[in-house]
Symmetry: C2
Subunit: 283 residues, 2 copies
């Protein structure tokens, strides 16, 4: 479990890694960080967000860490751990922030040293801006923190990950198995981004912004998208995402068919159903 003197190491000091560092430092924890960008490290040191920083895998920082949070792209994290796992002290707990879990956990838990443990977690928070300079721990306040244990995880590690979610002040902390997590995220996050992007790119009319109401802005806010991160997340979860696209498209075409046959009753029923279901999602 996390104690007063637990030392954290954040690997990858971007928006999410930086927000973890801010939150944990504010609560008085010891936080170190590694990031290849010297500007991110010097900024975080100046701001007092971290105690110590390095731009390469520093053996001292790594060896002294009790809990390591990887806030890197999934593929980068996997290679980082593969290359540097010899540097961890036995018993170190590793966790992550990745938006897809099955692939990451399959690969890492397969090659990881027996005396280390990796517990998957997914902070469902973000912004449309990047980097430690935009980091902001208040984004966690209305967000969900999902812990995704596998049969390789101990109860101790699961409890510690949940405790971390509480320390970061997440709104809700839940556990999901990795497959259920990836299916859910394929729907609520990846499908929504796929829709927003397609809506944004399916019409090249130059003048549309003059006539746009709030609804179009709402649906396309997330169409400003980090292309490297999201293509990675989409591809790592592509089977699920393709199924979600198919299920959504079938529903939209069902509505198209109601329009074609001018079936007002069916449309009204669909709208009533939609209104009722949406009410469940209000906060």
């Amino acid at each position: 479990m996390i104690k007063e003197d637990t030392r954290f190491l954040i690997v990858g000091l971007g928006l999410i890694g930086g927000s973890y560092a801010r939150a944990l430092s504010k609560k008085g924890y010891w936080v170190d960080a590694i990031d290849t960008n010297p500007d991110s490290i010097s900024y975080a040191l100046e701001q007092g967000i971290i105690r110590r920083g390095a731009t390469a895998p520093d053996p001292v920082l790594i060896e002294q860490a009790d809990i390591v949070v990887f806030a890197l792209y999934p593929t980068v994290m996997i290679e980082w751990i593969r290359k540097n796992q010899s540097l961890f002290r036995p018993g170190t707990l590793l966790t992550d922030v990745a938006g897809v879990k099955c692939h990451v956990l399959n690969v890492i838990q397969d090659f990881l040293r027996e005396d280390l443990e990796f517990i998957g977690s997914h902070p469902m928070a973000g912004k449309e801006v990047y980097g430690v300079r935009n980091s902001d721990e208040s984004i966690f306040k209305i967000a969900n923190f999902i812990v995704t244990p596998t049969e390789k995880n101990t109860q101790e590690a699961i409890d510690t990950a949940r405790q971390l979610g509480h320390l970061l002040d997440f709104h809700t902390i839940v556990e999901l198995d990795p497959a259920t997590h990836d299916e859910m995220i394929g729907f609520v996050s990846q499908l929504t981004h796929a829709i927003a992007v397609s809506l944004m790119t399916c019409n090249e009319d130059e003048g549309l912004q003059n006539y746009t109401g709030d609804s179009f802005r709402d649906l396309t806010r997330i169409a400003r998208i980090n292309e490297k991160m999201w293509s990675e997340l989409f591809l790592l979860n592509r089977k699920v995402l393709i199924e979600q696209i198919d299920s959504f498209t079938a529903e939209l075409l069902r509505m198209r068919e109601m329009l074609r046959r001018e079936d007002r009753t069916a449309l009204e029923e669909m709208f009533i159903h939609s209104t009722r279901r949406r009410a469940l999602f209000d906060r």
Copy 2:
């Protein structure tokens, strides 16, 4: 043109009609209203939003109006005007707030008395709540006001409609021909509602709300939808909307194909394009 002593009559005192009445009364104009709901009329009288009200087509109110704003469902408005047009004083200017224009203008301008004029306008503002009690003129401040003249309209009527948009403090006032309006609205408003509803109804998982991030909430905010109004708007513009659904679906399936063949480069290009286009829509 609108002068200090111009008298307005609002027919249909719901959210939009009520917001017009509030805005115009605050600026010192004379505003009367007709609504079949006695509660809406008495509330508006109590609040000082209107001077006089009636729950049926009152000949005195109608005869004394200089400008009549219909804030009714399109089909209800058409029948109202057909039935009561004999009561207007010659020279009265009629306008509306309907979200689709071709059908409304074709029908009304065809049967309207020669000594009356109907100019189409569309205030692109709204809320997820209804009725005069929720009316609020501040919803116009960030919204577009679209005037949709036809060859049957005089320059005087067009200018008066634009002046009304200014009086209501709309952010932007533009003119569009009705067909272009309906095509644009089919994309930025109707397609977005069709998507939000389909996204809301394509997955029946009861637990999803526990795991939902902001993006899903943003995309489905408008899935709480007035089923009577929107099925009417959708059906009156169904040809355009079906085309928009087809064009959007084709784009989403293009992305699906990129996922299927694991084409990271194509995905990244699509996301870069999306990000660039979305930037045009920031306010």
